[in-house]
């Protein structure tokens, strides 16, 4: 994974790890565990076991797990087939695979540049 090759500015939350609080991640946050609180990252990757509850802000979000409450993707939001986004969702660009779950209030925002996601 990208986070393994370049640790600087990255946050990795392993499976089974539970975090509480506010996190500012300058680069990539990859979450396999569970986070409660506020997280801001450039790129957020939530694995299928990952659960985030709270306010989430990132340029690029790649979601295989769950995000509850508030979610803002300033560039792109990609919900995979196992992904779940519930609550208030803001995005510049969105994609959902069949099986992905998206519920709540949706709002499109103007993206600040093209999405540079490497899907």
């Amino acid at each position: 994974m990208l986070a393994d090759s370049n640790q600087s500015g990255c946050l990795t939350v392993g499976e089974g790890v539970v975090l509480n609080g506010t996190f500012v991640v300058p680069d990539i946050a990859s979450v396999s565990g569970s986070i409660e609180g506020e997280i801001t990252a450039r790129e957020l990757i939530v694995a299928s076991s990952g659960v985030i509850k709270g306010k989430v802000t990132a340029d690029i979000i790649d979601l295989r797990g769950e995000i509850h409450d508030t979610l803002t993707a300033k560039k792109s939001l990609f919900i995979r087939s196992t992904g779940k986004a519930l609550g208030s969702v803001q995005y510049a660009e969105i994609e959902i695979e069949k099986g992905g779950d998206l519920q709540g209030a949706l709002q499109k925002i103007e993206g600040d540049g093209p999405a540079s996601g490497s899907y």
Binding site: I94, E95, K98, L106, K108
Partner: protein, 159 residues
């Protein structure tokens, strides 16, 4: 259809006036209209009453580009909207083409949006294309959004 066939026969005759082998004079047998089974029959065949059956035996209806329809549509078949439709729709399957605009209250099984939808939608399978805009109250069982598709409003997943 019958007239065209006659014309073709005549043309063939003119092209080869010596060829009299084919019985051009014999009238074409009139083909009876295919009998469209009642939609209820399709329902009955489907033991599970939860999901509507695909109405394969119904021909699709098309609201073409430049065509505007205001009112209510009820069918167990397919509708393609390339023009504009405003009103209440209850169908099995709807496709909104790239140029299509659909505004209103819609209940259907499968919905495929490539154009513009606004209003309230209740469906099982929703597909939103990359150039589509969906705005309103949407409830679905399964959703797919292609990259670039725009969705605004309230989304709800049915159990």
């Amino acid at each position: 259809m019958f007239i065209n066939k006659r014309k073709n026969d005549e043309r063939e005759k003119m092209a080869s006036p010596n060829d009299t082998s084919q019985a051009v004079s014999q009238p074409e047998p009139v083909v009876p209209e295919p009998v469209i089974p009642e939609p209820e029959a399709a329902f009955a065949a489907n033991g599970n009453g939860a999901a509507k059956p695909a109405a394969n035996n119904l021909k699709p209806s098309i609201i073409s580009e430049g065509f505007e329809f205001i009112g209510e549509i009820r069918s167990n078949g397919y509708l393609t909207v390339d023009g504009t439709v405003r009103g209440t729709l209850s169908l099995h399957s709807i496709q909104i083409g790239v140029t299509g605009v659909l505004d209103g209250n819609v209940t259907c099984d499968t919905m495929n949006v490539k154009g513009n939808f606004s209003g309230s939608l209740d469906c099982r399978d929703l597909t939103i294309g990359s150039r589509a805009v969906v705005d309103g109250k949407v409830s679905f069982k399964s959703i797919t959004i292609q990259r670039g598709g725009i969705v605004k409003g309230e989304l709800k997943k049915k159990a």
